[in-house]
């Protein structure tokens, strides 16, 4: 634990994304376009975690995320913890879970689904939150977590 503290310095203002599954850290980086941010960013990968074994953590200074960005995170990395910090104080700590419905975030992998042919939004029902299984509201195809692709 001492090592973790040393690696991840305190933030004055910004966001901490914690409890990221170890293999998803760089998915989060790409999703939030962190590689192109100009503010200080700390990325911790493969840190020891009592609950998860190995985990990732990302601290981003002077940056807060929109609901849309958080919704996308909830699909790719459900069960993360998002902490917002103002003036060294934690002002909000949110456990991000997959919603019951996912609007216009995920692409349907079925090439014959109407959503891939019309200028329209996609909608998925989350039918198994534990395993991250979705079902397209339109073509009814089920998508497993590993097959989820964002729009």
């Amino acid at each position: 634990m001492e090592k973790t503290k040393l690696m991840v310095a305190a933030l004055e203002n910004g966001t901490v994304i914690d409890h990221i599954p170890a293999d998803k850290v760089f998915d989060v980086v790409n999703l939030l376009n962190i590689q192109n941010m100009s503010t200080p960013v700390t990325i911790g990968a493969n840190l020891s975690s009592r609950k998860m074994g190995r985990k990732g953590i990302i601290k981003i200074a002077d940056r807060y995320f929109t609901d849309e960005e958080v919704n996308k995170l909830s699909v790719i990395v459900p069960n993360i913890v998002l902490t917002t910090i103002h003036d060294y104080d934690v002002t909000e700590k949110r456990h991000i879970t997959m919603p019951d419905e996912i609007h216009n975030i995920v692409r349907c992998p079925n090439p014959k689904c109407i959503t891939n042919h019309e200028p329209m939004h996609t909608t998925f029902d989350v039918i198994d939150k534990d395993n991250g299984t979705l079902r397209c509201r339109y073509c009814n195809k089920e998508i497993r977590k590993e097959d989820i692709r964002l729009l």
Binding site: K112, H117, C136
Partner: protein
């Protein structure tokens, strides 16, 4: 006429009461198919992929109700070939018609149409997804010939992997406590997700790749589907099983007297012609029942009870 919008997209969204209500309405149409209760109504049949049998059935239903029919039977003759979106086509047609019956090659097309359309949509098939009027006529045929939908032995034979009609039937039959047998070659067996659906909805089933006398003699309904060569990745397997899923008249000699054989049609060779004269053969009557069911569905979509 006040028009209440009630689209029919999928069997999944119909309650048991609604299914039974629609079957009862269809019974009334069978007793008297010609009822001019839709005079002044315009019904659009938009067939973005050809399906002559389904289109003729819906159009006959509309005509027997006194409605006028507009539409097309092939998307090649429409603006969708010029790149018009489905939404635009639906919006345009809804200016003219009181109800739209549509068949589309894309899955989910009918649901999307129902979301953008100010008039009700009846799904006449959307790709491999749903075909609720076929399922309703299957239920109607089972109920009519057996007097009930509960406590029956129903055998589904043939292509259970890709067969849309057999999947929809399971969805509809979740409300009723009948027992199923799935008889299919290994390559075309019932997909795991539907077996899990059966377990979750307490639908009893067994499965086998043997279309045996025991199976036939223990059935109240045999629902045949076509085993298509193009579905096989291994043509050797097709050659070895293709004759195992053909129903012949001599196989029915010890069948239950109430047995009826259904098929969504068109058949190729999976039911031998010599079965046609057997009293158990019901597939042509089954198709005719589609007319009464579709009369009920059109009226229901417009908020009309008889």
């Amino acid at each position: 006429m006040s028009v209440r919008k009630e689209s029919l997209i999928s069997l999944e969204e119909l309650t048991k009461d609604k299914i039974l209500y629609l079957l009862e309405q269809a019974e009334k149409f069978e007793a008297e198919p010609n009822r001019r209760i839709l005079e002044g109504v315009v019904v659009a049949t938009l067939f973005f992929e050809p399906s002559t049998r389904t289109r003729l059935s819906f159009e006959t239903a509309a005509n027997r109700l006194g409605a006028r029919v507009i539409g097309f039977s092939d998307a090649a003759t429409t603006s969708s070939t010029k790149g018009e979106s489905l939404k635009d086509t639906i919006m345009m047609v809804s200016n003219y018609a009181d109800v739209i019956i549509m068949r589309h090659y894309l899955e989910g097309a009918a649901r999307y149409a129902s979301e953008v359309s100010p008039v009700p949509i009846i799904n006449a098939g959307d790709g491999a997804n749903q075909h609720p009027s076929q399922t309703m006529l299957d239920l109607y045929s089972i109920r009519k010939t057996q007097g009930r939908l509960d406590d029956l032995d129903i055998t589904l034979v043939g292509d259970l992997k890709y067969g849309r009609t057999v999947h929809s039937m399971l969805t509809a039959m979740r409300h009723f406590s009948s027992r199923f047998r799935f008889i299919a070659p290994a390559e075309l067996e019932m997909p795991q997700e539907y077996k899990e659906y059966c377990c979750a909805n307490h639908i009893a089933y067994t499965e086998s790749s043997e279309f045996s006398y025991d199976v036939i003699n223990g059935s109240d309904i045999i629902y045949m589907t076509r085993v298509q060569k193009e579905r096989f990745t291994n043509l050797m397997e097709y050659e070895s099983v293709k004759d195992s899923f053909i129903l012949r008249n001599q196989m029915l000699k010890n069948a239950r007297p109430n047995l009826r054989i259904l098929h969504p049609l068109p058949r190729v060779n999976e039911i031998d012609q010599d079965v046609d004269s057997n009293p158990a053969a019901y597939y042509f009557q089954q198709a005719k029942n589609g007319l009464y069911v579709r009369e009920a569905l059109i009226c229901h979509s417009l908020g009309i009870d008889i």
